[in-house]
């Protein structure tokens, strides 16, 4: 059909964007991870697996593990807190739920740094005194604060698709509230929860601002490590290797999402 070919150049912006701004940079990163650097911090085009070997150093491994732990616990906490909220919203009429969502989007779209700044004040007012600032618990709460909407929206999207009549049918047939959740609601929404979890987990692997600001920068996380390698120590090959590792990890988890991501994000 003539019309098809007439307009096929329209896809050019997308292709430009994808190859020039997404794929290209990543390929370069992959390349760089196999290079070395000299004493001046310049990247030498010598092929070597040195960076990868360096990554196995227990010091770096430690950082990585700590990052995983933070991301995992933040994810679990977010899912745990978001699920009941999302369930409540899913039982409301659409226009009321939309108002709630708008309510949640407003803080979400207000500047992140300012919110963290104010959140520190929140942590300070706690009955426990100042203790929550610069503590692990404080960092975790700040992660929850920041990533909750990431979990909430996909969870809402999943839960919204569960018709109330299914839950009522289970109720009619004798299921207690606990049984309705365990035997009906959870099996149906399980994959949606995994998808929402990944949408929190993967981005939070790169998080370093929150541990730096709320945690006082005591610990090193992957993000801090990367910032160091690229902006301070100028060990780009090492940093690139870490990024390759990070992206690989994310990519192995992603296929589990497949269809669910599209549903969840729209």
């Amino acid at each position: 059909m003539d019309r098809k070919y007439q307009h096929s150049f329209l896809i050019l912006p997308f292709l430009l964007w994808f190859f020039f701004l997404i794929l290209g940079p990543f390929c370069l990163i992959i390349l760089t991870s196999f290079f070395t650097r000299d004493e001046f911090g310049q990247v030498q085009n010598i092929f070597s697996l040195m960076s990868y070997k360096q990554l196995l150093d227990p010091l770096y491994f430690d950082v990585f593990l700590r990052t995983l732990l933070l991301a995992a616990s933040s994810t679990l906490l977010c899912l745990f807190i978001a699920y009941p909220f999302a369930f409540y919203l899913s039982r409301l009429p659409k226009h009321v739920a939309n108002r709630w969502i708008a309510l949640i989007m407003i803080p979400f779209w207000t500047n992140f740094l300012l919110r963290i700044l104010a959140f520190m004040d929140v942590l300070r007012f706690e009955p426990f005194g100042i203790t929550l600032v610069y503590t692990n618990a404080g960092v975790l709460l700040a992660m929850l604060y920041n990533y909750l909407p990431f979990a909430l929206l996909p969870l809402y999207s999943t839960l919204e698709k569960v018709d109330s009549s299914i839950l009522e049918a289970a109720f009619d047939l004798g299921a207690s509230k606990r049984q309705i959740f365990l035997k009906v609601l959870w099996p149906i929404t399980r994959s949606g929860v995994y998808a929402a979890g990944l949408l929190v987990f993967i981005p939070s692997l790169g998080e370093f601002l929150i541990p730096a600001i709320v945690g006082g920068g005591k610990n090193f996380f992957l993000g801090t490590f990367l910032e160091h390698q690229f902006l301070t120590s100028h060990n780009w090959p090492l940093g690139s290797a870490a990024i390759v590792f990070l992206v690989l990890l994310a990519c192995t988890l992603l296929p589990a999402l497949k269809n669910k991501t599209k549903e969840a994000l729209t």
Binding site: R91, E168, A169, A170, D172, G174
Partner: protein
């Protein structure tokens, strides 16, 4: 007096504060009083928003009335939880559990009651044979057709042996042929089990096929309760008369145009109208004699439609009122379009209804 046998609703009232409070567009109800003896097939019939689903949900236990009470076999169950009532609901879109197989769907209620396995197997076998779905047991719910899903939903509810089964628009998702078949199957199923079936439907043909009695509802109230015959031949209001079947309404304005035994027509005082069903009107050539006991009206033919078993004629009288006439298809048509004919019917077949509805 509340019977000790069957279901009795007394003065049930439920108001939704605003339309937004309810999850779906279901309407509030008031003054709902009805009595359904055991084993009856009963329908709540009416247009959308009339409150029939609300009433059903209150009977099922998913909503509580603001006023009134529900007595089942002598027990006050107004606030009893759904699973503790001897009543089960088949939901409108079947609400099958998508993550369970057909068999696990069906025995779900038994598992919740912690019934032991051998008994579960027995009862499952019994019910699936009765409803003829034994061959579907291992399938997933998404592999079933609409009719099959409906049977599974039925089996799931009936396996718990409820005294009353509530069905919310059970056949609306099925195509015509399947619907007709299921109507008869539901009828025979009920007779076999001896349970009470209460239906909610907006389809009057369906209501008439499957019920012993029908409650016609409109805007939250019951307009009339009766057998299909009573409702069809002796409707109490204009609404009921026009909701069930077709009806022609005549008032004082048409009186001067009617010839024949007009004195035998029932009296219509203020707020009443005559109602004549289309099949009771016989079209005749202009100038035909009008026998005793009959009345006639001159009208101009607007349209004639041949539907096979029936022939429908639309005509307009001098006062501008439109009439629908139904004649057997095998009879030769009387009159052509724009021709003036005579509409005849027996005075006995003339019924009176209140012009205004109850509410």
């Amino acid at each position: 007096m509340t019977p000790n046998n069957g279901l009795y609703l007394e003065n049930i009232k439920k108001r939704f504060v605003n339309a937004k409070q309810s999850q779906t567009s279901i309407g509030g109800v008031q003054n709902i009083t009805l009595s359904i003896p055991s084993g009856e097939g009963f329908s709540l019939l009416g247009p959308s928003g009339c409150g029939k689903t609300t009433t059903l949900r209150i009977i099922g236990g998913f909503d509580h009335p603001d006023h009134g009470k529900i007595i089942h076999n002598g027990k006050n169950i107004t606030f009893t939880a759904p699973q503790n009532r001897d009543i089960r609901t088949v939901f409108q879109k079947y609400a099958l559990f998508p993550h369970l197989s057909v068999k696990e769907n069906i025995v779900f209620g038994l598992r919740m009651q912690k019934v032991r396995n051998p008994e579960v197997e027995n009862r499952a076998k019994e019910i699936t044979e009765l409803i003829e779905i034994s061959h579907l047991l291992d399938r997933g719910t998404h592999q079933l057709s609409g009719g099959e899903q409906q049977r599974v939903a039925l089996a799931r509810a009936l396996i718990t042996e409820p005294e009353i089964l509530l069905l919310d628009e059970p056949l609306s998702a099925l195509d015509l042929k399947l619907r007709e078949r299921m109507q008869l199957e539901l009828l025979s199923l009920r007779k076999k089990l001896g349970s009470t079936f209460i239906f909610v439907t907006h389809d009057q043909t369906e209501a008439m096929t499957i019920s012993d009695r029908i409650a016609v509802m409109n805007r939250g109230s019951i307009e009339q309760i009766g057998t299909p015959e009573e409702i069809y031949h002796r409707p109490t209001s204009r609404f009921v008369a026009s909701f069930i079947g077709q009806a022609n309404f005549l008032g004082q304005d048409q009186l001067p145009l009617i010839t024949g035994s007009t004195e035998q027509l029932p009296n219509i005082s203020q707020g009443k109208e005559w109602m004549v069903r289309p099949e009771h009107i016989t079209p005749k050539k202009l100038g035909s004699p009008v026998n005793s006991g009959f009345v006639a009206l001159e009208a101009q033919v607007q349209d004639i439609a041949f539907l096979g078993a029936d022939r429908l004629t639309k005509a307009v009288d001098k006062s501008g009122k439109q009439y629908l006439v139904k004649s057997p298809g095998f009879e030769t048509p009387v009159g052509q379009v724009t021709e003036k004919i005579l509409l005849c019917w027996e005075t006995e077949d003339t019924w009176t209804v209140n012009t205004n509805t109850l509410s």
